[in-house]
C-alpha cells in the first residue's frame, strides 16, 4: 500500500500540471469573484418629492440606510435630475411623506433590487405604524429587537429543516463553493490513475505481484484523498491569512469537515469509475458530474436562495451540499463539531456506500 501511495507521488512529480492548474484555477476564481470585495455600498440617489417635507424624507432615508448593501444618498432634486441627464445614474428615488416613486432614466439591472427593497421597507413601516395606532405601546421596540441584525434577512428552510435566518457572506460562499467545486476535478482526475493503469496493463502487473487488491486500491484512494485535501486546505489558509477572509475561529473543525468531504468525493470517483467503461468516458463524465453537483449543491450560489422544490430535493443527494453547510456553520455561525454530526455522518455514509459499490462494479467487470 505504501509503495503504491508513494509511487503516485513520484508520478505526480513528473506530471504535476493537472493538479497545479486546478489549484490555480480555484485561486483565480475565488480571487476575482470575492477577493476584492470592498465595503462600498451600492449608492442610490434620492431626493425629496415635490410637496413633501424634508424631515419625513430624512427619516425614510435613515430607515432605508439600515440596509447593509445599499446607501441612499439624499440630495437636491435639481442635482439628481442633472446627474440623470448626464447619465451618471440610471434611476433615482423620489421620497414623499408616506410614499415613494422610482424615477427611471434608463434600464438598470439594480432597479428591481432597489425597488423591491424600498417597497419592503415602506410596507414594514406602515404595518408598524398601524400596530402602534391599534394600541401596542412598545410594539416597535419589541419587533425591532426581535428582528435580527442585519436587516436584509430572508426567512428560509435550512437543511436541518428548521426555520432560521440566513446570512449571505459573499466571500465565504465563493471561497467554499469554488474550492470544493474545483477539488472534485483534482481528486477524480487523480483517481484516473487507476483506469490508466488498467488500460496500459500495469494494473495486471500489480495483480500478479504479491500485493493484495485492497492494498492497491487503498494506496490510490489515499493518494487522491491527500491531493484533494491538501489543495482545499492550502487554499483556505491562503485566503484566510493572505487575504484576511474570516473563516471563523474553529479551523480544526474545518479540517475535519474537509476530510469527510474529500473522502466522499474520492468515493464518488470510485463509483463513476465503476459505472463507465474507459478513461475517455470518465473524462467526459467528470465535468458533467462536478458541475451538476456544484449547481444543485449550492457551490455557485447559496442553496438558501433556491426555492425550486425539485432542485432542493436533488440537492439532498449532493455531498457538496453537506460539506458547504458544515463549513458555513463553522465560519459564519460559529458552530462547533457537535452541531455538525448530521452533515458529517451523511458525508461518511455517502462515501462508504459509493466506494463499496464502485469497487464491486470495477471488480465485476474485471
Amino acid at each position: 500500500m505504501k509503495s503504491i501511495y508513494l509511487h503516485q507521488w513520484q508520478r505526480f512529480r513528473r506530471a504535476p500540471m493537472l493538479v497545479v492548474s486546478f489549484f490555480l484555477l480555484t485561486v483565480v476564481f475565488v480571487f476575482t469573484l470575492a477577493g476584492f470585495q470592498s465595503d462600498d455600498k451600492f449608492t442610490v440617489l434620492a431626493f425629496v418629492k415635490e410637496g413633501s417635507s424634508d424631515q419625513a424624507a430624512e427619516e425614510w432615508s435613515d430607515r432605508l440606510n439600515e440596509s447593509e448593501g445599499m446607501f441612499f444618498d439624499l440630495r437636491e432634486e435639481e442635482e439628481v435630475r442633472e446627474m440623470m441627464r448626464d447619465g451618471r445614474t440610471n434611476f433615482a428615488l423620489a421620497v414623499g411623506d408616506s410614499d415613494y416613486r422610482m424615477v427611471v432614466a434608463a434600464e438598470d439591472a439594480n432597479l428591481i433590487t432597489v425597488e423591491s427593497y424600498t417597497a419592503q421597507v415602506f410596507r414594514e413601516e406602515f404595518r408598524l405604524k398601524q400596530a402602534e395606532e391599534a394600541g401596542g405601546e412598545n410594539i416597535r421596540e419589541d419587533i425591532q429587537s426581535s428582528l435580527e441584525d442585519p436587516v436584509l434577512t430572508v426567512t428560509t428552510e435550512t437543511i436541518q429543516g428548521a426555520e432560521g435566518t440566513f446570512v449571505y457572506d459573499n466571500q465565504i460562499q465563493t471561497l467554499f463553493g469554488m474550492t470544493l467545486f474545483f477539488s472534485i476535478y483534482t481528486m477524480i482526475f487523480s483517481l484516473m490513475n487507476v483506469t490508466e493503469e488498467k488500460r496500459t496493463g500495469t494494473w495486471d502487473r500489480l495483480i500478479v505481484s504479491p500485493l493484495k487488491k485492497s492494498q492497491m486500491y487503498i494506496g490510490h484512494f489515499l493518494y487522491c484523498f491527500t491531493v484533494g485535501y491538501a489543495q482545499i486546505v492550502v487554499i483556505f489558509l491562503l485566503f484566510k491569512y493572505g487575504l484576511g477572509f474570516d473563516l471563523g475561529g474553529n479551523f480544526p473543525a474545518i479540517l475535519i469537515v474537509v476530510g469527510c468531504y474529500a473522502f466522499a468525493i474520492v468515493a464518488l470517483g470510485t463509483l463513476l469509475m465503476g459505472l463507465v467503461k474507459s478513461s475517455q468516458q470518465l473524462q467526459a463524465v467528470i465535468p458533467i458530474v462536478a458541475t451538476a453537483m456544484a449547481m444543485l449543491g449550492g457551490a455557485f450560489w447559496p442553496i438558501e436562495i433556491v426555492t425550486n422544490n425539485i432542485v432542493l430535493f436533488l440537492s439532498q443527494g449532493m455531498p457538496i451540499l453537506y460539506a458547504l453547510d458544515a463549513l458555513k456553520s463553522i465560519a459564519i455561525y460559529g458552530r462547533g463539531l457537535a452541531d455538525l454530526a448530521q452533515p458529517l455522518s451523511i458525508l461518511i455514509l455517502f462515501g462508504v456506500v459509493c466506494m463499496g459499490v464502485g469497487v464491486n462494479l470495477m471488480e465485476r467487470r474485471g
Binding site: 509503495s3 513520484q10 508520478r11 513528473r14 496493463g201 500495469t202 502487473r205 500478479v208 504479491p210
Partner: protein
C-alpha cells in the same frame, strides 16, 4: 512443476481456450506457438491467475493455483504482450517500483535493479524517461520489470512484437541466458516460429483455442517426415503456371509467395524436371529453386492449411 488441466475459457459463447493441457518441467524452455487470436494470451492469463478459467485448473507442484493464487505469484514473472510500464518515469524508477511491490528494499533492491539493467544492456539509459525510449528498449524494460524478484518461472507473451532485428536478437539471447545459466523455466509465446525454433526445447502449437500439436521440435517436424518443400523463385507471378501445378496430383500443396511458389511434395519425389518443363511452357524465368527441410511453419501449415501470420 507447472501444468494446466483441461483449461477452458469461454467468452460470449465461444471458447477462446478449449481444453488445453500443458506442462512445464523445471528448467525447461517451452514454446507456445500460434497465430493471432489462437488463445495464447488467454491461456497465460489463466496460468498467472489474472483471469478465472471457465473450467479446468492450473497446478503448481500439484497445488491448485485457483485456490492458492499467492503460491504462483511469488515464483512467477510475467511479461505482458503490451508494454506495461509508466512512461513518465525513468527506466530506473520503473524497475525500482516493480521490485518494491515484490517486497525488495534498500540496498538489495538497488543492486537487483542494476543487475537487471545490466542484463538488458540499458545501464547507460537508466535515467531517461521510458517514453523517450525506442520500441526495442521499451520491450527490454518490459521484460526487466518481470525479472526483479528472480522468478523461477518466466512467462513471456510475444515479447518481441514490432521491434528491430537487433533488439529482437538481444532479447532472444537474454532469454536463452536466463534459461541456460540461471535455470529459469521459460514459457515463450510467439507467432514467430523462428523464435520458438531458436529458443525452445519443446513446443505447443495452438489454433482456435486448442492445442493442435505438441512435442519436441524434432517430433513435430517428423509429422512432416514424409514431405519436403520446394521453393521456386521467378521473375514475376505466373497464375497459369500455378493453376497447372495445382492440378497436378503428385504435388500435395501449392502456395503462392511473392514472385514465386512453394510446393509441398512427398519426400523423394522427382518433380524438378516436371516443374522446369511447366515453367518453360508458361514462359516463366526461374531464378532460383531450393528444396527445404520442413520448419515449424510448415508443420502449422500442414496441420491447419493456413500460414502462421495470415
Amino acid at each position: 512443476m507447472l501444468e494446466t488441466e483441461e483449461l477452458r475459457k469461454v467468452y460470449k459463447g465461444t471458447a477462446a481456450v478449449d481444453s488445453v493441457n500443458l506442462f512445464l518441467e523445471k528448467g525447461e524452455s517451452v514454446g507456445l506457438l500460434g497465430p493471432n487470436g489462437a488463445g495464447k494470451s488467454t491461456t497465460i492469463s489463466m496460468i498467472a491467475s489474472l483471469i478465472a478459467p471457465s473450467a479446468g485448473d492450473v497446478r503448481l507442484n500439484g497445488k491448485s493455483v485457483l485456490k492458492h493464487p499467492n503460491e504462483i505469484r511469488k515464483v512467477l514473472g510475467i511479461v505482458p504482450q503490451e508494454i506495461a510500464l509508466y512512461p513518465e518515469l525513468t527506466a530506473f524508477e520503473n524497475l525500482k517500483f516493480f521490485g518494491r511491490i515484490y517486497g525488495l528494499k534498500g540496498e538489495a533492491l538497488s543492486r537487483r535493479v542494476q543487475e537487471v539493467l545490466k542484463l538488458l544492456g540499458l545501464e547507460d539509459r537508466q535515467k531517461d524517461l521510458v517514453k523517450t525510449y525506442s520500441g526495442g528498449m521499451k520491450r527490454r524494460i518490459n521484460i526487466g520489470a518481470a525479472l526483479l524478484h528472480q522468478p523461477e518461472i518466466l512467462i513471456m507473451d510475444e515479447p518481441t512484437v514490432g521491434i528491430d532485428p537487433q533488439s529482437r536478437s538481444y532479447i532472444l539471447d537474454t532469454v536463452r541466458k536466463l534459461n541456460e545459466e540461471k535455470g529459469m523455466t521459460v514459457l515463450y509465446t510467439s507467432h514467430y516460429m523462428e523464435e520458438v525454433e531458436r529458443l525452445c526445447d519443446r513446443v505447443y502449437i495452438m489454433d482456435h483455442g486448442k492445442v493442435i500439436a505438441s512435442g519436441t521440435k524434432d517430433e513435430l517436424k517428423s509429422i512432416l517426415s514424409g514431405e519436403e518443400a520446394i521453393l521456386v523463385e521467378m521473375d514475376r507471378d505466373y497464375p497459369g503456371l500455378v493453376k497447372e501445378l495445382e492440378a497436378d496430383e503428385a504435388i500435395l500443396q501449392t502456395i503462392e509467395i511473392d514472385k514465386g511458389l512453394k510446393l509441398i511434395v512427398p519426400k523423394g519425389s522427382r518433380l524438378l524436371g516436371k516443374i522446369f518443363q511447366a515453367a518453360e511452357r508458361h514462359g516463366a524465368q526461374i531464378s532460383n529453386i531450393t528444396v527445404q527441410v520442413p520448419t515449424l511453419e510448415d508443420v502449422f501449415l500442414h496441420l491447419t492449411g493456413r500460414k502462421l501470420r495470415d
